[in-house]
Symmetry: C2
Subunit: 359 residues, 2 copies
């Protein structure tokens, strides 16, 4: 496993696996710092391919291409966590990979992730491992009520999930997931959702952004509002949760912790994303150093930037055909479009951040 | 001459002639809006080549390459004004070129530029056309004191300029410039320098940024400070000057007007740059819409963005070997590095903007 023994200097190359909007915004942030980026993506068309001449289109398990990619790069990162573990281990032996494989192995799997969070003394929704319809029935009884069956791996934006209201539904869902290892998660009666985006460096320094309140629609983030309904104490607790998680994982880079804020005011960890996060896009305008620049700084061994928020912000996603109103959207707020060709249903096409300045 | 009959939609291609830091920051701003960029540069290595896969390295008068470039682009702009007029006319017949050739023809030549500014009733330093050593002597007598001989074309950062304190020195300078058409400009005893960066759209809408005070060292911009020492009235007057110039030129895009602020409080126009400008870099952090995004919006037919300044700012250039302190520079303020390989003496390698937030 390679480690970074000195900062990547200006002119160095950041390798980014995944060429979606997160990779694109990471590349734009790296460019500000005079760093080059090489994007590795498994399809020929990718939003991030539009913002750098260094790009590789190949499957995520193509060893020869991964090797060529590693040769070009000074440090390697990724924009999404659902990558083949083998490929990541292979890359990590060739060049420094940040965040590291050990952290990713825990967070790629909902069961090990939740067990890890519990081991830190943090609260999560009730959950149980489920590998068969029989286990699903037992888990349903154990959790004691309706919940959600989720595949342990490769879920995002509500994919790989099924709400189950009865024991029979739980068993049926397992059949639909074709025996993929799952968990059953009990429903949480929360007041609202929130998240905290934070960065940790190899030297242990830590910087957290103010946690926004998040509004979801159809399992997709609609809007992040900062400050939201979190109290000052909840704000601090959220940051402390992120720090506890990042420290224990010996994490390097930006991570996001999605939270449920319960009606009694307590915070539950929903899930952890080992990457920059949609609910942190507002940091581009409202902070001196955005989550994207912060991630680049952390993985490249640079000093972390200042996460202080200098304005209140509302970030709203532009989903599917909403992007057709781009000319109107350009009139209000800071518009970001991701360069995607087809405005498919549910696809994130861009976002708008509106600042409410402190006057 | 082609004109833009509808806005360039997301996914469209902005052609940028010149691949320096201004082209690079224009490309990064275009990417935010979901627009692609194609960079045309006359050398193989260019800062802007690092931030887009669409790039052409060819001489600025290579008709075949210019034609290929025009075919790719929906609208064409440039990052510097010293381009062959023939090439620009050629491109303007193929695709919309913004700012247009008519404006550029006036501003490429210091003599027509100053005559134009005077024709608007605006003040400039005393100046006279000089084409020979004999004319230089006569001009020196007319202006009545020491001044600067400047070539009418292709000057920047103090290049193509000679201070002349005596009649004989004026004549000698003309010999040094090998008969290139020049002007003699009288010295102005100013209190300080300032500039105003503004944008105009094809529909006549106009947006000006607050004018910073500028500090030069060795003919190179060292620092822009906003607000500087300009009074509220001077702030407004500077914007009005930019508007008068942009309107009369029927200008489309961002322009910068460099100003002398005299001891009696009056403003003199020093020169006009038909492009984004070093003294506008602070707008990236301190305004909702930066000068780079504003230029892209204007030339692409999009609505102009909000130029309101939400923070006080100091922008400082990183010149030559100063860039070696990049790790320290990364600790304070928003760091921008341009991806240039050799830190030559006097070369602009990056800049840092420090905000003083309104609290």
């Amino acid at each position: 496993m390679k480690t970074l023994d000195k900062p990547v200097p200006p002119g160095g190359v950041i390798g980014i696996i995944g060429g979606g909007q997160l990779g694109r915004m990471l590349a734009l942030a790296a460019a500000r710092l005079g760093l080059k980026t090489c994007i590795y993506n498994d399809e020929n068309h990718a939003p991030a391919f539009q913002v750098t001449p260094m790009q590789i289109a190949a499957p995520y398990d193509d060893r020869a291409m991964l090797q060529g990619f590693a040769e070009i790069c000074d440090v390697i990162t990724y924009e999404f966590e659902n990558l083949p573990a083998d490929s990541l281990s292979y890359l990590a032996d060739l060049k420094p990979l940040q965040p590291g494989v050990a952290a990713l192995e825990i967070l790629q799997d909902r069961y090990t992730e939740k067990s890890f969070v519990e081991s830190l003394g943090l609260r999560v929704a009730p959950f149980a491992q489920v590998n068969s319809d029989t286990q699903a029935r037992a888990a349903f009884e154990k959790i004691g009520g309706p919940g959600i069956i989720k595949t342990r791996r490769f879920g995002y934006d509500g994919k790989g999930q099924a709400k189950v209201a009865t024991v029979d539904a739980a068993a049926t869902a397992m059949t639909a997931f074709k025996g993929a290892p799952c968990i059953l998660e009990g429903f949480v009666d929360f007041a609202f959702e929130a998240s905290v985006v934070a960065a940790r460096s190899a030297d242990g320094s830590f910087a957290a952004y103010d946690p926004p309140e998040n509004i979801h629609e159809n399992h997709i983030l609609r809007r992040s509002i900062v400050p939201g309904r979190l109290t000052r104490a909840q704000n601090d607790e959220a940051k402390a949760i992120a720090k506890a998680i990042a420290d224990r994982l010996n994490y390097v880079g930006v991570l996001a912790v999605e939270l449920f804020v319960l009606k009694d005011g307590s915070l539950l960890v929903n899930e952890i994303a080992p990457r920059v996060h949609n609910s942190g896009h507002w940091t581009i305008e409202a902070c001196a150093c955005s989550q994207f620049e912060q991630h680049v700084r952390a993985i490249a061994g640079w000093p972390l930037g200042d996460p202080t928020r200098h304005a209140d912000a509302v970030m709203e996603n532009i989903i599917g055909a909403e992007v057709n109103a781009w000319e109107d959207l350009a009139r209000g707020g800071a518009l970001h479009l991701y360069g995607k060709k087809d405005a498919k249903l549910g696809r994130k096409m861009g976002h708008v951040t509106r600042l409410r300045l402190k006057s």
